[in-house]
């Protein structure tokens, strides 16, 4: 293979100031969407949206229509309760997304020693973490607040009125707040676990164990001490509690939503601090 096909040319262009985290995120998203499992999860999430659009159609159809009889079915109604249901049903998909896509991001980079390749560029550690977190945040957003807000918008268009929304004016904000909590806590946890190992499979096993065994442990402590507060240890229980609180629904657990918020904030902070240490130390400082 001849090595000199063209000679080296100097570049005379003008450099841009696009944030490196955005560039990394776009590159990572392009890779993530190529994965079949990610596409399947997004498709399943899309099916939920289609089902809810069907509900919306039934809800807004005239009384004399053939499908109007379906209006008698209690859950065929787009309101805060159905939005809560929509987001709760999606939760399993969020975990699958974290396991299938997010948990491999840093583990794969560590295995391929790509961290130093990034950090030799004008990329800071926080840019790197943000660049790895953003793609997962986008994927999670596509299954949370984006379709939920689209459904609200569709209902507004279908009813040609904002009257129903004035009865629950906090609904869009609740959706955004819950989604933000879910996305930030899940992304930071997934990346922190991803940075623990160089094997994406091992990282996925660790994250799955966290999702499975921490709630079991919390349940065990609750049973032993007969105190519901232990359930705050479970990320899923905390998210569920906050979700119901934000949507003004009956709380499923017997602990304060503020405790859940504190637990999630603590988990996120610990994960981010841990990530800053891991990405700084790994692959860069080695032997002389």
């Amino acid at each position: 293979m001849p090595i000199h096909d063209v000679s080296y040319q100097r570049w005379q262009g003008r450099r841009t100031d696009v944030p490196p985290a955005f560039i990394m995120a776009m590159a990572q998203l392009r890779l993530a969407i190529r994965r079949r499992v990610v596409r399947i999860v997004l498709l399943l999430s899309g099916l939920f949206v289609v089902a809810f659009i069907g509900m919306l159609y039934v809800e807004t159809t005239p009384e004399d229509s053939a499908v109007a009889v379906l209006k008698q079915v209690p859950f065929i109604r787009l309101d805060s309760t159905s939005m809560l249901r929509f987001l709760t049903w999606q939760r399993m998909l969020h975990y699958v997304l974290c396991l299938a896509a997010g948990v491999g991001y840093i583990a794969r980079d560590r295995r391929a020693k790509a961290v130093q390749l990034y950090l030799a560029r004008p990329v800071r550690v926080q840019d790197y973490i943000l660049g790895k977190g953003l793609p997962l945040a986008v994927l999670l957003s596509v299954t949370t607040w984006v379709p939920a807000l689209i459904l609200i918008l569709l209902k507004c268009l279908a009813t040609a009125s904002l009257e129903w929304l004035t009865q629950e004016p906090w609904l869009p904000l609740s959706i955004l707040a819950y989604s933000a909590l879910l996305v930030v806590s899940l992304v930071s946890l997934t990346l922190a676990i991803s940075s623990l190992t160089t094997s994406p499979i091992m990282a996925a096993v660790m994250l799955a164990s966290f999702f499975l065994f921490v709630p079991l442990l919390a349940e065990l402590f609750r049973a032993l001490t007969r105190n519901d507060t232990w359930q705050v240890l479970s990320m899923q229980a905390s998210l569920e509690q906050l979700c119901h609180w934000l949507f003004d629904a009956r709380l499923p657990h017997d602990f304060s939503p503020w405790s859940a918020l504190f637990a999630l904030a603590l988990l996120t902070t610990v994960c981010l601090l841990f990530l800053m240490r891991r990405v700084r130390a790994v692959d860069i400082v080695g032997g002389g």
Binding site: M1, I3, H4, D5, R15, I23, A120, V285, G287, G288
Partner: protein
């Protein structure tokens, strides 16, 4: 200016990787030489701001390393020693991503990536997943990633590692072209002396974390002592005695020549000895000491000094 380090000390725990190193590199091609563990990679890491010096100062491209390193890193290209790659990407995407991260607009980064991949000889393989590249192709890919943003300073850490003789030759040709024809300042870290001798015009010899020698290659090779191959007609024993008396040393080569190593006086001493011993000089050829010989003598000298 390429870089300037002064009284640089880097310590990992109790291990001192670099100890009081002062080195200045203005422009051209600098070879960092030294056996494994000499501190070459630590020096490169310090230049890139990956490690904080325990003591001393580091300036790269006229800018002292402190605070935000991002503007400086846009001007530096780095070819790491490790087998590194962006997982899951093809060659083109990996190089274009490096360009974008260094501030090139996306369209320019893509165009440059195509050009550079052709330049390093990966033009035909640019759409293949980088994971499937051979060792030699990965080295070329790393060079392309280091070059895509047209750096002012190129740092190459063992670029010929794992290459077959032909690949090594081609890689060195590329690097030599960059340094001597394209005017890119580069630092080549290697333990392979012929590589450095072929590409670089300046060298810095590191041994056990200290700088043993540094300077322009020609001057370093000339400065130690001058060696000549001499053929004379006349009383050879008297000629040798005259040389020894003037402080030179002699050896007989297998080709029947006399190898004369002189102190600073050089060829004049040989002519003086010939005049004194009434010999005719029929041939006198200066012999250039190889970098390998200089390296060996410097390192041995350093080792002796240590003991």
């Amino acid at each position: 200016m390429g870089f300037h380090v002064e009284n640089l000390e880097i310590q990992y725990g109790r291990h001192k990787a670099l100890d009081d190193v002062t080195l200045r590199f203005e422009s051209g091609a600098l070879g960092l030489l030294g056996p494994n563990g000499a501190g070459k990679s630590s020096l490169l890491r310090a230049l890139l701001g990956f490690v904080r010096p325990t003591r001393g100062t580091v300036s790269v491209l006229g800018q002292r390393l402190a605070g935000d390193m991002r503007p400086l890193r846009r001007r530096i290209g780095y070819h790491p020693e490790d087998d590194v790659q962006f997982p899951g990407m093809n060659g083109l995407s990996a190089v274009a991503l490096c360009g974008e991260l260094s501030g090139l607009p996306r369209s320019d980064a893509l165009q440059r990536a195509h050009e550079i991949l052709y330049f390093v000889g990966l033009g035909e393989a640019r759409y293949r997943p980088a994971d499937s590249y051979s060792q030699g192709m990965r080295q070329r890919l790393k060079l392309a990633q280091a070059l895509v943003h047209d750096p002012e300073l190129l740092i190459l850490d063992e670029p010929t590692n794992g290459l077959d003789p032909r690949g090594r030759q081609e890689m060195l040709d590329l690097v030599r072209e960059l340094a001597h024809e394209k005017g890119i300042n580069l630092i080549l870290s290697s333990h392979l002396l012929p590589d450095v001798e072929r590409v670089c015009d300046q060298v810095a010899l590191l041994h056990r974390g200290t700088l043993v020698r540094s300077g322009h290659l020609d001057e370093l090779l000339r400065s130690r002592h001058l060696t000549f191959h001499v053929r004379v007609k006349g009383p050879l024993e008297a000629f040798e005695a005259a040389l020894l008396a003037d402080g030179a040393s002699c050896d007989h080569t297998p080709r029947g020549l006399l190898e004369v190593r002189t102190p600073a006086a050089g060829a004049q001493l040989v002519f003086d000895a010939a005049r004194q011993s009434a010999c005719q000089i029929r041939q006198i050829t200066p012999v250039r000491e190889s970098l390998t010989e200089m390296f060996a003598s410097s390192v041995t000298g350093g080792a002796h000094a240590d003991s």
